[in-house]
């Protein structure tokens, strides 16, 4: 489906597809095709919202030729992390890349160990001592603040190195991928159904998004149409996951400044949503519901009634929470003009989700692509232009009211939809397919390749937090270090999702 090019043509081809950011970079990932006599390849995918499609090119390396290519980070800045990851995983080297430190594999791994190459076994046990140097600013009076990977609170692991001029953060370097579990390698050789429990556990916060994107890829390869009722239910689950996360974030952001009544109310609302999720799916993270071809449970009338009840209550709480935020002047004082991401930065880094939309970049897979039943819901992205913590809060509040309305419509749609068909039969052959869905964090993209036996040859997972993490390090510059928890929480980026 993608145009094949040689490495020599990569710069001009990337520039053509990107059109100066008009077509955001979705992802770049490597693939090893040496077993079939070909070489390595790099896929480079761009979004074309005007045709609701993803298009791009496949850079094919000569099996006997060089494994170097020209880095495209200079023309497509969002490519920086992807190119580092591809080098870690496949040993394909981007010439002229501004930062060629490892990304995924830390000090415990040796140099020249490329785990996603086919000649490396899934459980290869290697020891090494590669170097990982943190980036810091130097100068008279400057000092460093190292934080993590084990933090003071109950959060995921990452190491942050702040370069400080007094209270002001001059530079932040983030070392992530601590929870790298090798998931893309772990699922190779499994059927999509066998891999599903692992896909659901890439990330807790984005269970539905990851599962849905993955299943879309599998369904495209199988050429199967998902039954309508299952499509409606999937869309409903996605909105429930978004409401749960957004409500949780609204209760968590005030924790960055110790605004206790809001933390408490947010905590109550999130718990109500978690209990609703358990009633719906049998699991508080909505696991075990979506399967390739459809869904494996139904939303009964009784459940629909319960969903209505809980959401009315939660919607009322969200409204009060937003009034609390607006009325509390010292809270507004902390969140306005804090942690700004400019629109140009958002576009250049191909940001997604709340982070993008709070900077005036109307990027939303629900309107950019055609999946689920979003096209019938008159969905429009909700944006703000300031790009600060306040804007990210307001975007969440705006999206919540849209989601509450959508859930009402979806339950209405279920009402008149026959419930005898929830899952289509899946028969796989060799093929490639992508899937996309808008998680609470932003667009979630999977690329799946199956072999002749219908087993996974390659899975690439790009969750929403991946393109947004580099933006966080830009957003904090110039703000004071006590604002970091606030700024960090306003993005609420997953670690598990990006680390895989």
């Amino acid at each position: 489906m993608f145009t094949e090019i040689m490495p020599e043509a990569v710069l001009e081809t990337a520039e053509k597809y990107s059109a100066n950011g008009a077509h955001p970079l979705t992802a770049m990932f490597g693939r090893d095709e040496t077993e079939s006599g070909a070489g390595y390849a790099i896929y480079c995918c761009f979004e074309f919202p005007e045709k609701k499609d993803i298009d791009g090119f496949k850079m094919v390396f000569d099996p006997k030729g060089s494994l170097e290519y020209d880095s495209i980070t200079h023309v497509v800045p969002g490519a920086a992390w992807y190119e580092r990851e591809i080098r870690d995983m496949f040993g394909l080297v981007p010439k002229g890349h501004p930062d060629l430190r490892p990304l995924v594999l830390h000090e415990g791994f040796p140099e020249n160990f490329y785990p996603l190459r086919k000649n490396v076994s899934v459980n290869a046990k290697v020891q090494g001592d590669r170097k990982y140097k943190m980036r810091t600013a130097k100068g008279e009076g400057l000092f460093e603040v190292p934080v993590g990977p084990i933090h003071a609170g109950i959060i995921e692991p990452g190491h942050f190195r702040f370069s400080q001029a007094g209270e002001a953060m001059l530079q932040l370097d983030a070392k992530l991928f601590y929870t790298h579990r090798g998931i893309e390698k772990a699922v190779e050789g499994k059927t999509p159904y066998e891999a599903l429990p692992i896909i659901e556990r890439i990330c807790g916060a984005c269970s539905i998004a990851n599962t849905w994107s993955f299943c879309q890829g599998a369904e495209k390869i199988a050429g199967v149409l998902v039954p309508r009722r299952a499509e409606i239910i999937r869309t409903l689950l996605m909105e429930l996951e978004r409401i749960t996360n957004h409500v949780g974030d609204l209760g968590n952001i005030p924790a960055g400044v110790g605004f206790n009544p809001a933390i408490s109310l947010g905590g109550r609302l999130k718990e109500k949503m978690m209990r609703l999720c358990e009633a719906v799916a049998g699991n508080r993270f909505l696991r075990g519901f979506i399967v390739p071809g459809g869904v494996r449970q139904d939303i009964t009338e009784e459940l629909a009634e319960h969903i209505h009840e809980v959401l009315d209550d939660v919607a009322d709480g969200v409204e009060d929470l937003s009034v609390m935020f607006a009325e509390q002047e010292n809270f507004q004082n902390r969140i306005q003009t804090t942690g700004i991401v400019r629109n140009r930065t958002a576009v250049d880094l191909a940001m997604v989700g709340v982070g993008a939309r709070a900077s005036g970049f109307a990027h939303d897979s629900r309107s950019d692509f055609d999946y689920g039943v979003y096209s019938e819901l008159n969905f429009k992205p909700f944006t703000k232009s300031m790009g600060d913590v306040a804007a990210r809060i307001l975007v969440r509040i705006g999206e919540l009211s849209a989601s509450f309305e959508m859930v009402d419509s979806l339950l209405e749609m279920l009402n008149g939809c026959p419930n005898d068909d929830l899952v289509a039969d899946m028969k796989y052959g060799a093929g490639e397919g992508w899937g996309i869905s808008e998680s609470a964090r932003g667009s979630n993209f999977h690329y799946l390749v199956l072999d002749d036996a219908g087993k996974i040859d390659r899975l690439f997972v790009r969750s929403a937090s991946y393109p947004n993490w580099p933006a966080l390090t830009v957003a904090v510059q110039g703000d004071i270090i006590p604002d970091f928890p606030l700024i960090n929480k306003s993005f609420e980026l997953c670690y598990a999702c990006i680390d895989r």
Partner: protein, 248 residues
């Protein structure tokens, strides 16, 4: 300000008794019986090799179990074909996942009666999917109010009685886990919280994974679940206080 006051006034106390019951669809521990052929199918459907069959008997390793429901589903499909009445199902009432190898009776006032002081806990994410971490955070929300039991999360392992490990230990975090354990004062306890830390089979064995927490540090108690519900974590913490008393 008025909204804050109004809401505080309107919202009654949310904190309730810790309930071990789940909703109707909740996938808790597995019970029931069926034929040995069907049990063999159940075992084959388990993605984490937690289902072990010997004839008509079966055991489930709840350290590993991710409560995905595939064994129950496989059993139900076959039972329909053979029009059998019996079969496996999930318990959803009294769905407290077992505290493996720490089978004490857990009393809610164990802290006051036995330990006589508060319990200090350090969380360590050794490679989780963040679901366990979110649930651990939820133990502090107004519904569960973990503080009422005198259990506190502390910022450093040097201040902790208990290390609460979530996630399968990754290569990138092995050193952090070892160092955190070494930094703790004696007597110390380690809880493996959730299927990854307790069983280590969730993702299989890969180049990036070391395994369950007990491959790296000694583990005193295991709390199953994927993730364990906040109520299960709280019961685990109370059991830990009980165990700490015995070590003091």
């Amino acid at each position: 300000m008025f909204k804050v006051l109004e809401r505080i006034f309107r919202d009654r106390l949310a904190t309730g008794k810790i309930s071990l019951a789940g909703s109707d669809r909740f996938r808790g521990p597995i019970e029931g019986s069926t034929s040995s052929e069907i049990l063999a199918r159940c075992a084959a459907s388990c993605p984490v090799a937690a289902f072990d069959v010997k004839g008509e008997d079966y055991t489930i390793d709840y350290k590993k179990c991710i409560f995905c429901g595939r064994c129950v589903e496989a059993c139900a499909q076959k039972a329909v074909e053979e029009s059998r009445e019996d079969g496996l199902h999930h318990k959803h009432e009294d769905a407290m996942p077992y505290l493996i190898e720490a089978g004490q009776e857990v009393l809610q006032d164990v802290l006051r009666e036995k330990l006589g002081r508060s319990l200090h806990v350090r969380h360590l994410d050794a490679g989780s999917c963040n679901a366990c971490d979110f649930e651990m955070g939820a133990t502090g929300n107004p519904y569960y109010d973990l503080s009422r039991y005198g259990v506190h999360f502390v910022a450093s392992p040097r201040h902790a009685d208990l290390l609460m490990v979530t996630g399968v230990v990754t290569r990138n975090l092995e050193q952090a886990l070892k160092m955190s354990y070494d930094a703790m004062p004696e007597p110390r306890l380690v809880m493996a919280c959730g299927a990854c830390a307790a069983g280590g089979e969730t993702y299989g064995d890969t180049y990036a994974i070391v395994g369950a927490a007990d491959k790296v540090v000694p583990v005193d108690l295991y709390v199953p679940g994927c993730p364990p519900r906040p109520s299960a974590m709280i019961v685990g913490l109370l059991a830990a206080a009980d165990m700490l008393k015995k070590k003091l």
